[in-house]
Amino acid sequence: MVDKLNRREFLSATAVAGAAMLIDACKSDSSDQKAVVKKSSLNNINVALIGYGEEGKVLLEAFLNIEGVKLVALCDIWEYHRGEGERYLKKLGNEVRSYENYEDLLAKEKDLQAVLIATPDFWHAPMTNTCLKAGLHVYCEKMMSNTIDGARSMVKTMRDTGKLLQIGHQRRSNPRYLFTLNRLLHEAQFCGKLTAIQGQWNRAVKEDFGWPKKYEISQTMLAKYGYKDMHQFRNWRWFKGLGGGPLSDLGAHQIDIFNWWMGKTPKSVMASGGLDYYKNHDWYDNAMVIYEYPVEQAVARAFYQVQTTTSAGGGYYEQFMGDDGTIRMSEDPAICAIYREARATAVSWDDLTQKGYVKAKPLAADTAKVDVRETAALAEYEIPVFFNKPPHQPHLENFFNAIRGTAKLNCPADEAFTSEYVIHKANEAVAAEKKISISDEEVRA
């Protein structure tokens, strides 16, 4: 991870006292963590990529920056995407064998160590289970599955086979997230007592995906792979039985951060949502969810909203709010912010600034209060960690380092399952229009 970060870039971005400490704080793959697999001589890991759509392309681009790994095979049922991948890789001097069907790939590729899966959600469980059983380590995109049972089966196979299963919640390996969690939330207790959480992903109206008519897949082949027609094949995320709707598609990332940063799972969920805008989708297109996290004989409520009809409200972020301060995190550094309450005295902010944990932002000129009852404007700080890599790269690196035995997975399937479970429960709460309890037992696979 950070050992793989461009050290100079990282240091210059964090060129403050205690930079070495910062690097330590960001390390997800620290040496004291126990390796899950035995150290091997895996200097060159042979990898196959299954699913070369939007996300498959993103993973490939990040993958190509990583040393000691080689893409040897590519699988996609759509010739249009498969051919694109093949030709691109060939032009890069990295010829791959390509397959329509992942089982053919597994039957023919005998020198593989790992697969990356970026197919629609309903294919994740069958593909992951088969690959793990074939002796491969698997990096599978989120959501783990479109069903709780599917996700549970993946955890079971991971345990049965002893192979690694990393779930693609890439923020768990993001140096900025790791730094902020370890140094600000935990060590400095920046937020004080956490009292509320808020997260959202609001996205503007978007036309459904189309497809080039000359590359239409035959009806027989679509049916063979579980799709009703080309529209469904291209827009699978909005259809029941294939994907999990916006809470699962967009919310998965942020609700996973809620659990990760709270270090626990919620005891209940209530939600409201509906299919109020789009005419040809199955899943609702908007939802507002409230999770209740137990904290010291009280509750911290987490509000999450996902909109697919408006991008208003500041984009996508997770915000942890406490009596001393607030941290707003996002994959987009421009959205990240930290605020200190005027009452906060427990932490020496000068000390944090000195250590390079925070950087003060100049106060805006127009901070005059409109109403005397308003709380004074919060002092705003920046998180001084930047990294110059595609967002998915550290998570892939963590996966490969875990295969080599030099790191522990940042998002193993059993851990991801707890997030997966509470997301599915939010979908259930929307349908049931009621509050649903979540016990500590059921949330674990």
Partner: protein, 222 residues
Amino acid sequence: MKIFVSCVSPIVAALLVATAAMAQDKVPLKTQLPKPLFVGTPVPLNVPNLEPPLKGKRADFMVPAGTVLLSKGKKVTASDDSPVTGTLDLVTDGDKAGDEGSWVELGPGKQWVQIDLAKKATIYAVLVWHYHSQARVYRDVVAQVSDDPNFKSGVTTIFNNDFKNEVGAGAGKDQNYVETYQGKLIDAKGAQGRYVRLYSNGNTTNKLNDYIEVEVWGKPAA
């Protein structure tokens, strides 16, 4: 006009008439814009010298009356004749939609496409849509006009944001910009030539070079 002329000196009047005629001669360039389309996880862009994003619609761009679209259906050649995706005719087929199947994707690194306008023309504007379903910046964008199909002589550079001279057309001074459904409008300032060539050198998402559409607006030589 008569009344107007009668109350000013003849020279001023002549100037005013000429200005009015020139102003009348200019018309806003009217092109059809595709539907906006953004998908996927937004990528934080870390690009120097980036032009601030367009707020709303672009202001009218004035071109001489009689300016027409010269490029529609014209022959396209490229540095990569076996594209990663699509075919070269997509560059001038009139389809600016951002969805799959609308773009031709040339291989990694430095690449160019070239449009043959079939005859010499005076060019007032070039509009380029590389890709607009994601906020991307294409690197080292250079646009040139020439009468020489090999771009060895008589080359006019009408846009260049290749600060480091990666493409070899000289170090550019134009700014980087984020792709949108409105396309990039390049003021060609009446450059003359039969061929228009566009370079790029990968983009902020990958190493590839995409073209959804290029429109060349101007007047064919008489």
